[in-house]
Amino acid sequence: MGCSDMPVPSIIINSLTKSYGGLTALDSFSLEVEQGAIFGLLGPNGAGKTTLIRILTTLMRQSAGDASIEGLDILRSGRDIRRMIGVVSQENSLDRYLTARENLELHARLHGMEKQLYKSRIDNLLELMGLAGRQLDFPDTFSGGMQRRLVIARALVHQPQVLFLDEPTTGLDPQSRRAVWEYVRSLAGSMTIFLTTHYLEEAEQLCDRIAIMDHGRLIALGSTQELKERLSGATVYEIEFSGQDIDRYVVLLGSMPCVIDIKQAGSKVTLTLECWECLSEIVTSLNGAPVRRISLLERTLEDVFISLTGEKVRE
């Protein structure tokens, strides 16, 4: 592949650091995000995700390092960058004294759009987000999912080249969360999407590439598949028992050296083993046990996260 065929980075982050007194929220963080990609930044609460987004969206200045969006430096070209980005922040920043439509109109005016241009654009967005019938209502009367859709619509009014979504589905019920995922998916390819989340499933469902960060540092980067492949030989099996005396087998399995982790939920026991060869040891030790089924579970991002950080995702 020649140089001209290389994907063009939309976001370039170079050794970005942010300190508050003695606390380092971002620690020499570097990253590149390709144009048109849906990029996920995954990490527990307090990992530094929001700090990174606030710096990239020019709301906050970094302590060291630099970053650019579509070739523009975030410190020198703040206004031009804000012209080309859309931001969905964690907080619900909708204006509760304006109707849904007025919220979008105000945002369009702040972007300097002419009325004849933003009118049809807002009509389309309200239609796309399923809010056309409620455009004259105030956001306080909306469900959490509808408010979130309205915030996303607001971020899209000026047709940004890069969309930042900071934990867009936090606090939403599963149905609303999936609806937001659908809207995000529908935008794929038309703009670069930079999404932060602490929901592993969200990152897995939506993102082309994922970065995992913790304590302000980048600890892994790749596609979902690449990250899963980074797991050592560890494999996860689910054993379903049919009898009553499961606790005895859980203790027995938990004491075996090849078992890294064991969890029990009713008649099902999930085992994380050092390698797939360990399975024969397990089967031997369960000789005579009332086992209904043993199945190999696909590794998830959660396994990757545990393997990289040594802990579960902190909510």
């Binding site: 709301l59 200045r61 804000r82 012209r83 922040s89 304006l98």
Partner: protein, 251 residues
């Protein structure tokens, strides 16, 4: 350059239009009560003050107080609410407008509230009380009311920017803003102060505002130095409000 300011100010005016009746009822009730209680009720006991009936003495001050109070309150609470509760300031900041445009919009909103509410109280006093003034004095009076409202709007912006807790805002209003208004000759002539204190009281922009506004409205007297003092104070507070807001936003 001020396209963003205009959009935010128009948004604020839309909200004001929607709630104009309740806003004006709330804002007129307080000065009207004071006027009826002191200006009418106590007038017989107080007699003439500076050669004028007491009701005539306090009426211009009540109109001015309403305007500057409304300007201050709108600025301080609106900014605090949009910054700390509704996060709208943050949503403005990710658009291509500058931080200065946001704060200028908010200053103009407070100022507009002050002028509208001050005029409303003036009209009500004019309509339902014996308070009268020569209409040609209105222009001189506005020369005080306009920079006075601007001054208090900017002061409100500074408070709303610095203070993160609503209870602190309430305390500052009780300890600083209201005493500044009440001690500036709103209810009594400055000659009531001990002579050693008078120069200090006169140095306050609020004294220049209330004293100058009363004389302008009642006697048509033009106190140019007082106009200058209030206008200069408003200008300095405006610069301070913009600088402090910009600094806070960069944190």
């Amino acid at each position: 350059m001020l396209r963003g300011s205009l959009a935010i100010w128009q948004r604020d005016m839309l909200i004001l239009r929607r709630s104009i009746v309740s806003e004006l009822m709330a804002v007129v009730a307080y000065p009207l009560t004071i006027y009826l209680a002191f200006g009418i009720g106590m007038q017989g006991y107080i007699g003439l003050v500076d050669g004028a009936p007491y009701s005539l003495f306090i009426a211009p001050g009540l109109i001015t107080m309403t305007a500057v109070n409304a300007a201050y309150n709108e600025s301080v609470w609106s900014l605090w609410f949009h910054r700390r509760v509704q996060f709208t300031i943050e949503s403005y900041r990710v658009t291509p407008i500058s931080v200065s445009e946001i704060v200028i919009a908010k200053i103009f909103t407070g100022f507009t509230h002050g002028i509208i509410k001050g005029c409303a109280v003036g009209l009500v006093l004019f309509a339902i009380t014996p308070f009268r003034f020569p209409i040609e004095h209105l222009l001189q009076y506005l020369l005080f009311l306009i920079p006075g409202s601007a001054l208090f709007s900017c002061a409100g912006i500074i408070s709303g920017t610095i203070m993160d807790k609503p209870e602190t805002i309430g305390k500052v209003e009780a300890v600083l803003v209201m005493p500044l208004i009440f001690m500036s000759g709103l209810f009594f002539p400055l000659s009531s102060y001990p002579s050693a204190v008078i120069p200090w009281v006169r140095a306050l922009p609020t004294t220049a505002l209330f004293e100058g506004a009363r004389r302008a409205l009642v006697a048509g007297e033009m106190m140019s130095m007082s106009v200058l003092q209030v206008s200069l104070s408003a200008l300095i507070t405006f610069v301070a409000a913009v600088v402090i807001f910009r600094y806070k936003m960069s944190e």
